[in-house]
């Protein structure tokens, strides 16, 4: 009688045990095999142990500037330089002076006997949990590592709802029951490298001119900015179950955000027996300088997407690596820098987190996002109004009228007067150009401009966007004539821009003889011309039936939007009225050979792209993804590579330009009235949905005396 009871208990205990073991050990292996990724313990050479003497020397060095400054401020200036110098040196070396100006972690590490920085392990030693404050003022204590691993900074996607993004099918993304991971990890944006699965880390053999053909290795890939130090992004987080392996968690780079002195020259791709990954600064020196987050720490990565890599005040881009130097991306993504030279808030010492107020490791982007970039706290506002309040103009004689404009204009519309001139608008990935200085083939920027009407335009925006990053909004007069998806963002009409594109096309034809210049210009400036009449009709119907509602919501204001379109290889089996699934490039093949089609072939062999073209992935997320994309009959699992040949793959421009929000590079002095209110002003009132009569009225300034303003 006793035996069956024991057996029953054995079964009851062993089933969950076996399930746990399967989940903990078998599932990760199965998953790795499925997506073809590896995990291994990550080693960093600069994570070295210091002796106590070395430690104290370093400690002394790290506080010397601060101590000197503090002492110099005290010692009177009206004495001989030598006398002053002696006094300063005495004062700066008192124990209290050292105590007061030393970075705090020096004492913490000294007391704890920490003489080597081992990555997250070292940080979590003290910071296993952290107290966070929510937007409503309430507090919570969270597990620091989990908090970070589930943040957009680490996984750069989210399955949560709360997106202000609408699919072309009219549904708000992830508002329904079937939620799919969306964010930068799989975003079909204009830069195919954003397929982080295939573009995480690459070593490129360049042949720069100055080396006379000798090979120089360069680093490239998404991982240069993202904080995971693993061989690939946190793919595990895209699945409903499973966690990031501990090895990957140990690769998290805490210091790139938290250290005051982080050596960006340590950021380059390294190759070990398992593959390519990004190196990071794990020196004790960096760890000892840990302090509160500042703009400087954020801008190590984020100046890339604001001012750009070649922006002259991008300090991180000046330190490209001790070896395998990072490749600079020349056309700027937004061209609106955040720096004390070009932004009034940065100049005023305002830090990023003063506006983007974090809750632990979750950082809000604001509620208005046109793009599909994941947002940690989608319900949290990041607005000008939260500081500037009502009636922000106080100084000008025109203050009341300027305040009056706020009902219709976003602050950025007047206070961002231009983007950086290298702001890229049209980029041709299909026809790369040889960069002799760097010795690599680069995508050809067909058109760059930071000028209004050219590099960016003005659109009505209510905070909603489409799945392919098009700002949605409507003229408050209710006009149905305002239809940016058929007009402003689907057509370039500026003759200067068209001329520049033509000029570039002629230039490209020298290398790519099959280019038909007229057809090229037409495709680049009128991307709708790539659609069949049937698709065009479906597009118009989808805009009218599916997007009108999202456009009419809330209160729209006019915002500036940076324009962007790119020519890429597209899988034409998955084409809809707004574009087709774009295919990624293998960085090395692309940069080294300039054979863009070959680069696609290499990239799509990546196991995870192959999985994408299989039934489970189709069911899990691709059908839903495509529905948002405007393709109603599901994802076609027709793998576009057969016998080493691309099948049903064509180079195309996306069927409309993407619109990126620009919110930085704010100038204290806004635009002049006359810039907009003139017959050839920078704002096309007619296309913004104003009647001819209203436009005529808006284009004149009768009764407004401009003498003061233009002074």
């Amino acid at each position: 009688m006793k035996l069956p009871i024991i057996r029953r208990w054995f079964i009851v205990v062993s089933i969950p045990l076996i399930l746990t073991l399967l989940y903990q050990f078998v599932y990760p292996l199965a998953f790795e095999a499925y997506v073809g990724k590896v995990n291994a313990p990550l080693v960093y050479n600069n994570s070295t142990e210091l002796t106590s003497v070395e430690f104290e020397t370093l400690a002394n060095e790290l506080s010397i500037d601060a101590r000197q400054r503090a002492a110099a401020a005290i010692v009177a200036a009206d004495q001989t330089p030598l006398a002053r110098q002696v006094k300063i040196e005495m004062l700066m070396n008192t124990p209290s002076a050292i105590r007061n100006s030393e970075p705090k972690h020096i004492q913490y590490f000294r007391d704890a006997g920490i003489r080597r920085y081992d990555g997250p392990e070292t940080c979590l030693h003290c910071h296993a949990t952290m107290r966070i404050q929510h937007g409503d003022g309430s507090h919570a204590t969270v597990n620091t590592l989990n908090d970070l691993v589930n943040s957009v900074h680490f996984k750069f996607q989210t399955e949560a709802g709360g997106f202000s993004t609408y699919g072309y099918d009219g549904r708000q993304v992830n508002s329904g029951g079937h939620k799919i991971p969306v964010g930068k990890i799989n975003r079909a944006c204009g830069i195919p490298g954003s397929f982080t699965w295939t573009g995480w880390a690459a070593l490129i053999a360049s042949h720069p001119e100055k080396n006379h053909g000798a090979e120089v290795l360069r680093s490239e890939g998404c991982g240069q900015c993202h904080i995971g130090g693993n061989y690939q992004p946190a793919t595990e987080k895209m699945m409903p179950i499973g966690d990031v392996p501990n090895e990957a968690k140990n690769g998290i780079d805490c210091l790139i955000c938290h250290a005051a002195q982080y050596d960006m020259n340590q950021r380059y791709v390294i190759k070990d027996e398992k593959g390519l990954r990004w190196n990071q600064d794990r020196s004790l020196r960096a760890a000892l300088t840990v302090k509160s987050i500042s703009s400087e720490t954020c801008l190590r990565c984020h100046q890339h997407n604001m001012g750009g890599d070649v922006y002259q005040h991008n300090t991180a881009a000046k330190e490209l690596g001790y070896i395998n130097q990072r490749i600079l991306h020349r056309g700027a993504k937004r061209g609106n820098p955040f720096s004390s030279e070009d932004d009034v808030h940065a100049a005023a010492g305002i830090q990023c987190t003063d506006c983007h107020i974090p809750e632990g490791h979750l950082i809000p982007r604001g509620r208005k996002g046109v793009d599909l970039v994941a947002n940690d706290i989608p319900i949290k506002d990041v607005t000008c109004e939260s500081c500037h309040g009502q009636a922000p103009h106080n100084q000008s004689e025109y203050r009341a009228l300027l305040n009056g404009h706020i009902a219709r204009l976003a602050c950025e519309t007047c206070h961002i007067k231009a983007l950086q001139p290298d702001n890229v608008v049209l980029r041709d990935w299909v026809h790369p150009t040889w960069n002799a200085e760097e010795g690599i083939f680069e995508p050809t920027d067909i058109y760059r401009s930071g000028a209004p009407g050219k590099g960016f335009i003005f659109l009505w925006f209510n905070g909603n966007g489409t799945f392919l990053a098009n700002a949605l909004g409507s003229n408050p007069n209710g006009s149905a004539d305002y239809n940016p998806l058929m007009q402003q963002v689907a057509r370039i009409t500026d003759p200067d821009v068209i001329a520049a594109v033509r000029h570039k096309a002629i230039e490209l034809k020298q290398r790519y003889s099959d280019i038909d210049v007229d057809a090229y210009v037409e495709m680049a400036t009128n991307p709708l011309s790539q659609l069949s009449p049937e698709l065009l009709a479906r597009r118009e119907a989808m805009i009218a039936n599916n997007l009108r509602n999202a456009m009419m919501q809330g209160e729209s204001r006019i915002y500036p939007f940076k324009l962007f379109n790119a020519m890429m290889y597209e899988d034409m089996s998955n084409q809809g009225p707004f574009g087709a699934m774009i295919l990624p490039f293998d960085y090395a093949r692309y940069y080294e050979t300039g054979d863009s089609a070959a680069a696609v072939k290499v990239a799509i062999v990546d196991p995870i792209i192959q999985r994408m073209y299989q039934e489970p992935f189709k069911r899990y997320m691709m059908d839903e993804f495509m529905a948002y994309f405007g393709i109603t009959d599901g994802w076609k699992t027709v793998y576009p590579l057969v016998n080493e040949q691309l099948v049903n793959v064509e180079p195309h421009w996306m069927r409309q330009m993407g619109t990126l929000m620009v919110n930085h590079g704010i100038q204290s002095k806004g635009r002049e009235c006359i810039e907009c209110h003139a017959p050839n002003g920078i704002m096309d009132f007619n296309q913004l949905g104003y009647s001819a009569e209203q436009t005529a009225k808006l284009e004149q300034l009768d009764g407004i005396e401009l003498r003061h303003k233009s002074d």
């Binding site: 009636a391 004689e397 305040n403 407004i704």
Partner: protein, 311 residues
């Protein structure tokens, strides 16, 4: 009786028809007038965020005008310059123009038809001068004037046609926007919420005047205001010479039972009696009393008979 009621209803219908026709006619008449063009000013002043922060008070001065409300207001037919007679044709407006007083009196007292107006502005001024709002030494009342309560760009004489509750709510909100602690001070009032829904603040806080104007502009101090329930809860309710007289064109007292029901959206104990029901009930009670007396008398007679028989 039935005949009487139906003729009454017929009369009522005819009155309604006439009223509707008059309304239609007046609308048509309004349309014939050339619409006043405010566009030049409203180009800026219709901006909902037209405002600035006053350098001295640090308060936001709102310069925005709701153009829809203006077009519905009593002043909507006036050109802006009829009240604001300064050099406003250029922007920025000249400083002296901004500080020029409004020429209200010009219209309201000096024009020929001034005497025929329902409201006499002289009287209003006299009343206002005795009001608590005209207390000159109270610091919180500095700068208090007509416009503190009456926005000239939205002012409408009386909003006949709107639900009574809405009129009362709007009106009371005006007072409550400054008198924030009013609720606590009215704790003594039975059914406070109901009173506030049905009665305007000014119905109790102004004296009843003889001058035929529906409400006085002399706002009374709390102590001097009406505390006596019967002033309202009686047949001669003072409410009847105030807002409630607007409720329908004809006097409530003479309306039939049905009309009272339809038009009466605020019942006031003691005031809103149904004369028909009262008369009917008292009649039946009287009749019953007579019947009972007669019955009693009959029984007495019978009793007398029986005693007589016994004897």
């Amino acid at each position: 009786m039935i005949l009487h009621a139906s003729t009454l209803r017929l009369n009522r219908a005819r009155q309604l028809l006439i009223m509707l026709m008059m309304m239609a006619f007046s609308l048509a008449a309004a349309n014939e007038k050339v619409p006043v063009n405010h566009n030049a000013c409203l180009r800026c002043h219709a901006m909902p965020t037209l405002a600035y922060r006053d350098a001295n008070s640090n308060k936001i001065i709102n310069l925005s005008i709701d153009s829809l409300a203006l077009s519905h207001s009593v002043h909507g037919k006036l050109a802006c310059a009829e009240c604001h007679d300064g050099q406003f044709d250029r922007y920025p407006h000249q400083f002296d123009a901004q500080n020029r007083p409004l020429s209200c009196v010009n219209c309201h007292e000096e024009k020929a038809d001034a005497a025929e107006r329902h409201y006499q502005f002289k009287t209003i001024e006299e009343e206002y001068n005795q009001s608590v709002h005209a207390t000159p030494d109270a610091p919180e009342l500095k700068g208090f004037n007509c416009h503190s309560c009456h926005d000239p760009h939205q002012f409408r004489a009386s909003r006949i046609g709107e639900p009574l509750a809405k009129i009362i709510h709007t009106n009371n909100q005006l007072c409550l926007s400054c008198h924030e602690s009013a609720r606590a001070h009215h704790a003594w009032l039975p059914n406070q919420e109901k009173h506030w829904q049905a009665v305007r603040c000014i119905d109790c806080h102004t004296p009843v005047t003889e001058n035929d104007q529906t409400v006085s502009h002399q706002i009374l101090k709390a102590e001097a205001s009406n505390h006596d329930c019967v002033n309202c809860h009686s047949k001669n309710s003072r409410l009847l010479n105030r807002l409630y007289q607007y409720r329908t064109a004809t006097n409530l007292e003479h309306q039939g039972w049905f009309n009272t029901a339809v038009f009466n959206d605020a019942y006031v104990v003691g005031m809103s009696r149904s004369p028909l029901l009262d008369r009917l009930a008292l009649g039946v009670i009287g009749l019953t009393l007579l019947v009972l007396i007669a019955h009693g008398f009959g029984r007495y007679k019978a009793y007398q008979r029986i005693t007589r028989n016994r004897k």
